[in-house]
């Protein structure tokens, strides 16, 4: 099974080609949907097979390299298309294909009747292809191939309904923004790759990491590599200051938001940093930087999510915030905690998005939560699953979110800084609050929509994926039960990933001495706070809407600041985008290019024309005059001869 791992990229690629080339000709949605989903389903089975095969191997042999063919070979550079099957890539592969498969199935229902049905599945398959390359690639270049590939699919899928209005313009604007912001990140990533090649002379993970651990390399080089790579991660995983594209990415169809912009693609940055853990471990300053960015992003995005009214926007900012958590974890060296959160987040955030999709589907494309209310009696399955997911993200035991979030908070306290922990906790409280604001406004309370809307439960093809995901979101945390509860087995999840992070962990001084009592106290404190904020949210938004309104009026400035997302988009627009566009047009093109460079050249031409224009007057056309001049010449010539006699 491990050797067949290339099928997990090949099959989606074939699915993409089939649906892309023939999708528009085949009118039958079933065929398209089945082909699109089954390629991913089979891939999932292969990954599962590979997983169990790997599990049966001894711990130190759990890495397999599947070499396919030489990609680029020039000079010392030798890059193969080869897949690395190990604990980390299998974990990511399981998430990608598993959640991917569920979302594919869900999309059959969600996209029903859309004109671009075939195109949609083609893009989704292409996405899985790219994402699998990203997580399976055994070198930085293949990682980058997937990295860019998922960016492309994200672009294509955000702009899927390219003629629809979205906010001030169209969805294609959002798509373009996503791609370009990602490109800014890629710029850093590319520099990182170059520097890696320059430093280690190879781009293969195994070579690079082995050399990083053994060679004596100056500190600043590590810092630069780590920093450049992290810039890439900032773009892909929507961290400050490059997070701006993700909320806009919600312009795409909801399954896309679930798959790409919540469960898989945006976690690519986390995966990449985790993959390069040894490099980061060698650059403590950058680790600190990662933690700070993560923490800031977490609380910053959560605060914006508090007041948003678009159901998907809330979830988008929530995603940004959760990604911030993951980077916080990476920054404090808790790599496996970050990945654990990647996994649980994939479950519950995908579920949330799919649930939101189900609501939007049932409410005929209405997305404003102020126009919902009391939907739980119309769509009970959606409600229950959505509630589970909300509890999970809020971190209520024993749902999955509790374990992963707790592990991050604990690590940030234990290995980082009390401030990280505080930010984490505040973010957790905010998360619980906005999630339950969302749940309350959507499913509880009075119905605030017009009579023309007839909310209905979604078909089975959509609800079954919801249920599956709900189960996963509920129980997914048990594979990572912290040591203090599970006893001598320890944290299963950590144990599985331990060989990957072992070299990095060895470099960072890990786990200062902390008592388990401390851990439990912190856990309880957080839990109490979270429950309190859930209660507050439910109280305010179901029973008594007044305080919220009063509050928002009283702090009108703050409220508007949050509602307008701190005006970051506008600031970027005014400080970066407009100057570049206007500067290019007015200064570079119209002035430098046309006036100066071209003007200089045309000026020379004109000058010559003018000079010759005046010189040509000498040509009177009277032959005698010419003869006279000739004679003058003869005089001069003879004179010269006479002098030399």
């Amino acid at each position: 099974m491990v050797q067949l791992i290339y099928l997990t990229t090949l099959l989606p690629l074939l699915g993409f080609l089939f649906n892309g080339l023939f999708g528009s000709k085949i009118k039958n949605e079933k065929i398209i949907g089945i082909i699109g989903s089954s390629t991913i389903g089979i891939s999932f089975l292969i990954v599962v097979g590979a997983f169990f095969q790997t599990l049966s191997m001894p711990v130190d042999q759990r890495q397999t390299i599947v070499n396919l063919f030489t990609w680029i070979k020039v000079g010392n550079l030798d890059v193969n298309v080869s897949y690395q099957v190990d604990q980390l890539s299998l974990l990511m592969g399981l998430i990608v294909t598993g959640v991917g498969f569920i979302i594919h199935v869900y999309s059959i229902g969600y996209m029903h009747g859309d004109k671009g049905f075939g195109r949609f599945f083609a893009y989704l398959n292409l996405f899985i292809f790219a994402m699998m390359n990203l997580v399976l690639g055994s070198n930085f270049l293949l990682l980058f191939l997937g990295w860019e590939g998922v960016g492309l699919c994200s672009y294509l899928l955000i702009g899927f309904w390219y003629d629809r209005k979205f906010e001030k313009s169209t969805t294609s604007d959002a798509a373009k923004k996503a791609f370009i912001v990602n490109r800014i990140g890629d710029f850093g990533f590319l520099l990182g790759i170059f520097l890696i090649y320059l430093t280690f002379g190879s781009l293969n993970f195994n070579d690079v990491f082995a050399r990083a651990a053994s060679l004596n390399i100056p500190q600043y080089v590590f810092n630069f590599i780590a920093l450049f790579l992290f810039i890439g991660a900032m773009g892909k995983s929507a961290q400050i200051p490059l997070y701006i594209w993700l909320p806009d990415a919600m312009a795409g169809p909801t399954p896309v938001s679930a798959l790409i912009h919540a469960a898989t693609m945006v976690t690519a940055g986390v995966y990449m940093v985790a993959r390069c853990s040894i490099i980061y471990a060698s650059a403590p300053a950058i680790m600190e930087f990662v933690a700070i960015i993560g923490a800031l992003t977490a609380i910053f995005a959560a605060s914006i999510a508090l007041v948003q009214n678009d159901i998907k926007k809330v979830l988008a900012y929530s995603t940004v915030s959760q990604l911030g958590y993951m980077f916080l974890a990476l920054g404090v060296g808790a790599f496996s905690a970050a990945l654990f959160h990647v996994m649980t987040h994939a479950f519950f955030k995908a579920l949330l998005f799919l649930g939101a999709g189900s609501v939007i589907h049932g409410m005929h494309d209405e997305q404003n939560i102020q126009n919902y209310g009391g939907l739980k009696k119309y769509m009970p399955k959606t409600y229950v699953t959505f509630l589970i997911a909300s509890l999970a993200i809020a971190g209520i035991p024993p749902l999955s979110g509790f374990f992963s979030k707790d592990e991050i908070l604990w690590s940030s306290y234990a290995d980082g800084n009390i401030i990280y922990w505080l930010i984490g906790v505040v973010t957790a409280l905010l998360t619980a609050f906005y999630m339950f604001r969302l749940v309350s406004l959507t499913f509880d309370g009075k119905e605030r929509f017009g009579h023309d809307k007839h909310p209905h439960e979604s078909p089975a093809v959509m609800t079954i994926p919801l249920i599956i995901l709900a189960v996963l979101a509920a129980v997914g945390g048990f594979i990572g039960i912290p040591e203090i509860f599970s006893g001598e087995h320890g944290n299963q999840f950590d144990n599985w990933l331990e060989p990957i992070f072992q070299p990095a962990q060895a470099k960072i001084a890990m786990f200062g001495v902390h008592s388990s009592l401390e851990e439990i106290v912190l856990m309880v404190v957080t839990l109490v706070g979270v429950i309190g904020s859930i209660y507050a949210a439910r109280y305010i938004y179901i029973k008594n809407i007044k305080p919220a309104e009063k509050l928002s009026k009283r702090f009108n400035g703050v409220y508007n600041l949050l509602l307008n997302k701190y005006y970051v988009d506008e600031i970027y627009d005014a400080s970066v985008v407009t100057p570049i566009v206007k500067g290019s047009e007015i200064v570079l093109w119209k002035f430098a290019d046309i006036k100066i460079i071209d003007g200089l050249i045309n000026g020379v031409a004109n000058l010559i024309e003018k000079i010759s224009g005046s010189i040509r007057k000498i040509q009177t056309g009277v032959a005698q005059f010419y003869a006279l001049i000739m004679m003058l010449g003869i005089v001069a010539a003879l004179f010269w001869i006479i002098l030399s006699l």
Binding site: K73, N76, E148, Y162, K176, F194, Y197, L198, I580, W589
Partner: protein, 507 residues
């Protein structure tokens, strides 16, 4: 044995074809078109045979034919290919039939003359790439201008006269200096070798012994001529005009092949002949190349005319190639060579696509379009792939070249600074900006211009042309080794010539 005449045969095909074409009656336009297509396809087949006959593991000039021409001056008809020129020969013969095919419907007046000039153009371009004698090279280099001048001047847009004269004067200006340098070199050779010669292989052995101070001037004379052709910022202003005014086929050839002659010249002549000067000037030219990358991209971003946008993007792309050449590492030079081919394919494809839509709407202004993805989905898809290839998406051809160039620049001992690669890499952002913005404004959004509703999607002929290009776009993206292998030993040799101990010793 026949191998020795293969290249002469390759040159003869378009020449004889062009002459035979003159015998066809003017009004038999379709016959003329089929004949032109046949001749150029034949040239392509021969170039494939040349490829088959070329041993890429050996490197060096192969399939060489040498006939003394002006024996007193040791000027010979000397042709041959190495890995670098072979790739460009293949590109030329590949693109020419496609461009002829693309102008099947769009060129209606003076079809015979058009086909004639296209074949002559092909001859000139092939001659430039296969010449191993500076004198012969110079003849082809200049001769190629003439058909291009007419192609722009007769079948061009409204400002074609201005554009064609500008094109002609610009390139002419540079090449005159080159002529002076060639003559100087030949005279220098007569001092060292005892006889006047323009034979490239002989000059390779003696040119590096030219005193450093004179080498600088020689280098500049050659480089200026090539820099105009490439074009390197700030000598690029002929390019947008020529591109915009030229007919589609002209633009494709101009972007696809003609610009490559400049970079090819840098690689074939400037570097090996004047290694010390090249090393001395490398940082300056690289700086100009990087300015070109960023400047070209920024100016492309704000263009209102699609063709002009693509033209400025060429400035940026060729900046990468020049950077790669002057970084002088194996990776970057290989990248530059493959990027020459890439640019020919992807920019050629973009020009063809703009031509396709221009044939239907007779406007290239971006603002006249919008939302046409729904109306012409096939066209939209092709345009998307071509744009992505130009942007440098991994898995397509553009990435391989750009990546190698940047990687090589990063580790270049000649430039010896991260800044070059750092700034150049920012070009990847801008490329995405201008192309995606173009794409968005043309294809996405709502239909604003009611005329576009009647647009017809691409027909079979157009699909065939672009598919042929896309095969290679994807091939190079996924399995570039096929092409990298061809030029590997040749580029290695160029770098060795630059850094050979003799040169560094005599400094």
């Amino acid at each position: 044995m026949i191998n020795n005449y293969l290249i002469t045969f390759l040159l003869a095909v378009p020449l004889v074809g062009a002459l035979l074409l003159l015998l066809i009656k003017k009004d038999k336009e379709n016959l003329v078109r089929y004949f032109g297509l046949f001749v150029s396809t034949l040239a392509f087949i021969i170039s494939i045979i040349i490829y088959a006959g070329y041993d890429s593991s050996k490197g060096g000039f192969q399939l060489v034919e040498k006939q003394m021409w002006i024996s007193n001056l040791h000027i010979s008809y000397n042709v041959g290919v190495d890995g670098i020129s072979l790739l460009l020969v293949l590109l030329t013969t590949f693109l020419t039939p496609l461009t002829l095919l693309s102008s099947w419907k769009s060129i209606n007046k003076k079809v015979k003359e058009f086909t004639f000039f296209m074949l002559l153009l092909e001859l000139g371009m092939l001659g430039v790439f296969v010449s191993l004698d500076l004198f012969l090279f110079y003849i082809f280099w200049e001769a190629m201008l003439i058909p291009m001048y007419f192609i722009i001047g007769i079948w061009g847009g409204p400002r074609r006269i201005y554009a064609s004269i500008k094109f002609f004067l610009f390139t002419m200006f540079g090449s005159l200096l080159m002529l002076v340098a060639i003559v100087w070199l030949a005279v220098y050779a007569s001092g060292t070798l005892g006889h006047f010669t323009t034979n490239l292989v002989e000059l390779y052995s003696i040119a590096p012994t030219i005193p450093y101070g004179i080498q600088l001037w020689m280098f500049l004379a050659f480089a200026l001529s090539f820099a105009i052709k490439v074009p390197i910022f700030p000598l690029h202003t002929w390019l947008p005009d020529a591109h915009v005014e030229a007919p589609t086929a002209g633009s494709v050839i101009l972007a696809g092949v003609l610009l490559k002659m400049g970079t090819y010249g840098l690689l074939r002549f400037c570097l090996p002949l004047f290694p010390q000067a090249a090393i001395h000037f490398a940082p300056y030219i690289s700086t100009l190349a990087i300015i070109g990358i960023i400047y070209g991209a920024l100016v492309a971003m704000v263009q209102k005319d699609m063709k002009k946008l693509v033209a400025y993007s060429s400035v940026a792309h060729l900046g990468f190639v020049v950077l790669g050449i002057f970084a002088m590492t194996q990776e970057s030079v290989q990248g530059a060579v493959i990027q020459m081919v890439n640019h020919g394919l992807s920019t050629g494809a973009l020009f063809l696509l703009v031509g396709v839509i221009y044939d239907r709407m007779h406007t290239r202004l971006i603002s006249d379009y919008g939302g046409i993805a729904k109306i012409v989905p096939v066209f939209a898809t092709f345009f998307m792939v071509a744009s992505l290839s130009s942007i440098g998406l991994p898995g397509l051809n553009g990435f391989v070249g750009e990546f190698l160039i940047l990687l090589g620049t990063f580790k270049s001992p000649v430039l010896d600074s991260w800044w070059f690669a750092g700034f150049a890499t920012s070009g990847v952002i801008f490329a995405a900006v201008y192309l995606l913005w173009l794409y968005q404004r043309v294809f996405f959004g709502e239909v604003k211009n009611p005329k576009v509703n009647e647009l017809k999607d691409m027909n079979k002929r157009e699909i065939f042309i672009l598919s042929a290009i896309f095969v290679f776009i994807i091939w190079i993206g996924i399995y570039p080794s096929t092409f990298l292998k061809i030029s590997e030993t040749s580029t290695k040799k160029v770098i060795e010539q630059v850094f050979s101990p003799v040169n560094t010793g005599s400094k």
